[in-house]
């Protein structure tokens, strides 16, 4: 079976990647030990307190302002790319570790786009097309590696 059709079959199980979210929630309700969505929006507060920094001091390190740090900690706003890089550097944690909910939502959006592209790549039988399909397969494998659908 061609790579293209394999991945399109995989994506076809979830016509829209958003369906995964619904399935995850269903699974959570059925058995929360099976898979859980991140309950904590971000861990900036935890890391900041771990290192005894005030919001003002962290804002100075990041090059932002205190109100923005507070909003980020409360999950009411998202960090900019610069702030994200700064947080990752300051606390020596990856961005998905610091912002699990943000990372999940970005991943869902990327996978939704990938689902759309997979239909296009499926028709491309060239070397480049197969290479692109391989990337989408890898992405799908990475996302579903910790999920066991029954």
């Amino acid at each position: 079976m061609a790579e293209g059709s394999a991945i399109s079959t995989a994506f076809a199980r979830w016509p829209s990647w958003a369906t995964i979210k619904i399935r995850r929630c269903d699974l959570d309700i059925a058995d929360s030990s099976f898979l859980s969505m991140p309950k904590i929006q971000c861990y900036v507060l935890t890391r900041r307190k771990e290192w005894c920094l005030t919001q003002d001091e962290l804002a100075k390190l990041v090059g932002s302002y205190r109100e923005k740090i507070r909003a980020i900690e409360n999950g009411t706003t998202r960090p900019t790319a610069d702030e994200l890089m700064a947080f990752a550097f300051i606390f020596s944690h990856t961005a998905p570790d610091l912002f699990p909910a943000y990372a999940d939502s970005v991943q869902d959006e990327v996978m939704a786009a990938a689902a759309q592209l997979s239909k296009k790549f499926e028709r491309d039988k060239t070397q480049k097309g197969r290479r692109k399909t391989r990337l989408l397969q890898d992405m799908l494998a990475r996302v579903t590696s910790h999920v066991e659908y029954v």
Binding site: S32, S33, K39, I40, Y43, L45, T46, K49, C52
Partner: protein, 172 residues
């Protein structure tokens, strides 16, 4: 079901004469938020309850962990007991599970590491959770007052007692 769910959010609140200490965690060694709110003066109970309610509303834990009444009422009070009952009642109203652990439960949890006194338990916690290490107060001398920082470790010990009593299926 007796085990904790992975990612179960636990909030332990430990009231003391000058306020509230709290630890919010998603695992025995994974605190997310912690601190102490200083509350002194008139209407201590009402203000402590308001602070606890604000914590519950903001942090939205799955489980509220409190000390068992008779253990908290050392020295003063029905006042602390009433506060704990108010907090437990509010949590029930918010569909938050409430668990209470006595000092015996906490000591049982830390028996394996040889920690018996509050300070030894605090030292054991500080050695396991680096974020708390700098908050460890010096051992209390007979003529010293209790350090408010020790109550933070009391709250952390309650969290650990909770995970000890109801281990997660993932934790051996």
């Amino acid at each position: 079901m007796t085990g904790t769910h992975p990612g179960e959010l636990v909030l332990a609140i430990r009231p003391f004469t000058k306020g509230l200490a709290y630890v919010f965690a998603e695992g025995p060694l994974s605190p997310i938020d912690w601190g102490a709110k200083e509350i002194i003066g008139a209407k201590w109970n009402a203000r402590c309850f308001a602070a606890a309610r604000a914590l519950l509303d903001h942090l939205k834990p799955d489980v509220l962990v409190l000390a068992k009444e008779e253990e908290t009422a050392r020295g003063s009070s029905g006042r602390a007991q009433r506060l704990l009952n108010l907090m437990a009642n509010h949590a029930h109203g918010q569909s938050i599970e409430v668990c209470r652990y006595s000092r015996t439960d906490v000591r049982t949890c830390f028996a394996d590491v040889g920690a018996v006194t509050r300070h030894e338990i605090a030292e054991a916690i500080a050695s396991q959770i680096p974020a708390f290490a700098h908050r460890l107060p010096p051992p209390r001398r007979n003529w010293d007052n209790e350090s408010p920082r020790l109550y933070l470790f009391d709250a952390a010990a309650l969290v650990m007692a909770h995970y000890c009593a109801r281990p997660s299926p993932d934790i051996d």
